[in-house]
Symmetry: D2
Subunit: 148 residues, 4 copies
Amino acid sequence: MRRKSTAYRPISHLTNEVEGYVLLNEADPLGIVWHGNYIKYFEQGREAFGRQHGINYLDVHKNGYITPIVNVQCDYKMPLKYGDQYKIITKMLNCPGPKIILSYQIHNQNGALVCEGQTTQVFVNLNGDLALYIPKFYEDWKMKVDFK
Amino acid sequence: MRRKSTAYRPISHLTNEVEGYVLLNEADPLGIVWHGNYIKYFEQGREAFGRQHGINYLDVHKNGYITPIVNVQCDYKMPLKYGDQYKIITKMLNCPGPKIILSYQIHNQNGALVCEGQTTQVFVNLNGDLALYIPKFYEDWKMKVDFK
Amino acid sequence: MRRKSTAYRPISHLTNEVEGYVLLNEADPLGIVWHGNYIKYFEQGREAFGRQHGINYLDVHKNGYITPIVNVQCDYKMPLKYGDQYKIITKMLNCPGPKIILSYQIHNQNGALVCEGQTTQVFVNLNGDLALYIPKFYEDWKMKVDFK
Amino acid sequence: MRRKSTAYRPISHLTNEVEGYVLLNEADPLGIVWHGNYIKYFEQGREAFGRQHGINYLDVHKNGYITPIVNVQCDYKMPLKYGDQYKIITKMLNCPGPKIILSYQIHNQNGALVCEGQTTQVFVNLNGDLALYIPKFYEDWKMKVDFK
């Protein structure tokens, strides 16, 4: 599979932090969070980011678009255990094109980095057409939040 | 909460069996299937039942209804472990009203009963109205499959 | 399946409230929370209850026991939708025997009751033996929290 | 995050195919499989591969190792919908080092490619030490299955 290096950097003020506790149903027989559940934590971070910065899934939908994820990746550094408290730090990367690229870092209660990952989303209108240009509402949002 | 005794009995020919393997993501730190995941197995059984007997969710939807679950319950007898093979036996109960009541039994590879449960579904039309009578298409289906 | 009526009542000071947002991965094609995911919300409530009252899963384990769930049930009243904020109210019932019975009520952001359910847990020691009497540590905990 | 290009190629006879149906609980409000659930399908493929080729998680554990996932990635091409039947094709890549790299392709019932991804696993012994060399049992397995 193709793995490209991206040169995009986080936009320092477009970030969110949200916390949670590891539940029993999220941990596997080794007592650690099953690797696929971090993708749920990423979603928890992404939605908290969206609520904070006014770019939630429902905001996007109201403007006639959905933003499906076209790539996800995650590097695992150390495990979270059942009962641990975690913090998800979500950052928006300064991708100039018609895409939303978010990076995620998850830390445990001691501040250690547990994993980091990234999602890439595209804009698709309600007819199912991929947006080749940045939708107007998203340009407006970028202006408003000083995306650069 | 209210727990009623139901007198309904299984209809012997309206049954389905489907098998699967316990995946790592379904087992908890004790190495056994997390209790909530049996609700997913019930769905696996319910959908296999629907495919076999022509009463799938999409069949129902085509006729202008959805069938939300209004009650679920499960009694746990013994654990399934990671790697176990399981069999789900789904049976339709002879409820005469505008409801679908299915019972589920899950067995492990040695034939031991792991858990048993039940779901109750009602008919709601696409305007969101609860059906107080049995929808025509479901009456027809009951005739066709000799529901009694 | 057997459905017994329980006469146990909630102990008014042994309660917990915890809130969350419905995530996209928890909602189904109807845009509403998939019924099995309320069992996860019950766990979220149960663990928050355990942290508040000092009877967490890890507290129990330290004393040589696990507390597997032997029954779960849920009555659904109205749906939670993607993006909704929910509140889980967990209450301990005054069951006198060697069992933990918790009831759960989930409300949406308007205070409407979404669903209510119940879990029953038993005590099993680390050899896998079911406790027929209340373990000492749990008697002590009941004294401490004025369980009655 | 770092994204390296890997030059490893699939080993043509170390492959597995397994099929399934998309369940309601796996689909999101758009009626399509939630992106994180493909990571579960990858696990379904990985475990079917392990059963077929004798390198299951439990086989590995019996030899004193666990094989945690240190990287996962997935590229999404088109959606699977509720009710679709899917096929997971899992292939082992010819990585010469102390790692297991598997690639996954998921197709729908029409044979269209839905997504492709990759997982990387390392060997950790039961003391928690990362294996810097290939464990003996895995060398033996590679000989037996003609890994090259």
